[in-house]
Amino acid sequence: MRLGYLTREGFRSITTHSFMSFATVTIIVACLIIMGSVSLLSLNINKLIKELEAQNEIVVFVDEAIGDEAAARDLQRNIEAVDNVASAEFVSRTQAMENFMGKYDASLMEGIDEDVFRHRFIIHLNDIAYMSQTKMELEAIRGVAKVNAHLDYAQNFVMIRNVVSIVSLVLIVMLVFVSFFIMSNTIKLATFGRREEIAIMKMVGATNAFIRLPFVVEGLILGMMGGSIAFLAEWGIYNLVSGRLVGSITGTLLNVIPFRQYALPVFIIYMGVGILVGAFGGVNAIRNYLKV
């Protein structure tokens, strides 16, 4: 088989059927951008939730009866033994007072002894969904006087996280199916107009492989073009939208993931999907016409 000729035919076909090629690339670009944007939005929301979760700490106050710092530190082992505890940082009453004075006006603390502060542990959890249960387990430890935990915040975060995860997963799965359907149908439409050409090829003795290869080459090229254009467009749109968003909500917690952090995986996925859809779409579209 003359590979050079077949490859040239693939390229020639793109320019000859320029309108359908344009339509195919446009559909691939549109579908990839919609899929990619929803995925990137979902990643950003998840990151934001994780950051907010990480700020949600539990404070474990040590019983005043344990005045000795060394004895208070001994509680760390028992605290860390609780399942959901990710880290426990000891803060002595001296340190707690310094922190307080650093945070507020130092003059407020004039004449006040550090004994008004308790030794404490700052706890971070593995999963805030189990905050309530963890709080009870911490309270049950001997030597723990009180546990401060924002259970209402935790519940809200967990609810938001679950909703976002489910909604984005459903959206992405739906978009993947819809996109594949639209893209393969566009390619089918593009090849429908060429069924006569295929029938002639068959009648003059062309093998199925000979007929198929230019379509595969054409599909690959269109898929790669679609993937590349979608990647560049996604990059531009993402930077534009994230720039405006951050610019308009300055001073908030909003911290958008830079596109370059996901540029390589996005590029690989876009090219992969483009090539897969293009090549398989091309082969699939002409399958029926090869049965003559």
């Binding site: 088989m1 003359r2 000729y5 000859t16 006569e196 050409e197 029938a199 002639i200 090829m201 068959k202 009648m203 003059v204 003795g205 062309a206 093998t207 199925n208 000979f210 003559v292």
Partner: protein
């Protein structure tokens, strides 16, 4: 060579008997008219020859290939021994005359050097020299059919099968085209022309096989007149 013995073809989707108990032999080098009214089974007979359909029963052998048992992957090899000419020309609209003919050679993997010498020779043979760069839309019906014949001929097939080749042409162009097919036959290629044009058939003293209602109703080996 075409050999058919007790051939029956039933289209299962519509339960139509297109051919029933047809037996015939066409030897290498013959010129044969296959005639009959519309719906008589001529096209089905032609499709059996080109491998587009398979017989329901009976035996069909075309250029040494058994068409009843031939594997799908062997069909291209069989089709390369045939040249098919269609009523509606079936040229590729976005290819010029030269490429429409060269395309048939590229399909069979012919080297470029051979294509460059063979295509101009065939175009001259069918009277299309100087029209290589024309697109199909710029040609008359007769010229387009000549391109179709050139494409069918370019790979030196053992047999040319023409399905109503003059169906879209005026009488003068039809006669010219038939003379061209006769010339090709004189060069040694078997020619089978499917037609229902009585005057044209009668103008040539050739063998005439008549098909009617799916059955072979006549085989005038001495050539000549047919009347339906």
């Amino acid at each position: 060579m075409v050999y058919m013995q007790n051939v029956r073809k039933v289209y299962e989707s519509s339960n139509t008997v297109a051919l029933d108990n047809v037996s015939l032999t066409i030897e290498d080098g013959e010129f044969v008219f296959l005639v009959g009214p519309s719906g008589s089974g001529k096209t089905t007979l032609m499709k059996l020859i080109t491998g587009e359909v398979r017989p329901t029963s009976g035996k069909v052998v075309v250029n040494d290939f058994d068409m009843g048992t031939i594997k799908r992957r062997k069909l291209p090899k069989m089709r390369r021994t045939l040249g098919v000419v269609f009523q509606d020309y079936r040229l590729i609209e976005n290819m010029n005359v030269y490429d429409n003919v060269a395309f048939a050679m590229r399909v069979v993997g012919a080297p470029n050097s051979e294509i460059k010498t063979r295509v101009p020779y065939i175009l001259e043979l069918v009277g299309l020299e100087g029209r290589e760069k024309r697109m199909p839309g710029e040609l008359s019906g007769g010229e387009q059919q000549r391109v179709g014949i050139a494409r069918a001929l370019v790979n030196s097939p053992r047999m040319i099968v023409a399905d109503e080749p003059t169906g879209n042409l005026d009488p003068a162009r039809s006669l010219e085209l038939m003379l061209l097919l006769e010339k090709i036959n004189e060069m040694g290629t078997t020619v089978v022309v499917v037609t229902h044009e009585k005057e044209l058939v009668n103008a040539f003293s050739k063998r005439v096989i008549t098909i009617d209602c799916g059955e072979k109703t006549g085989d005038s080996v001495e050539g000549g007149y047919y009347d339906l």
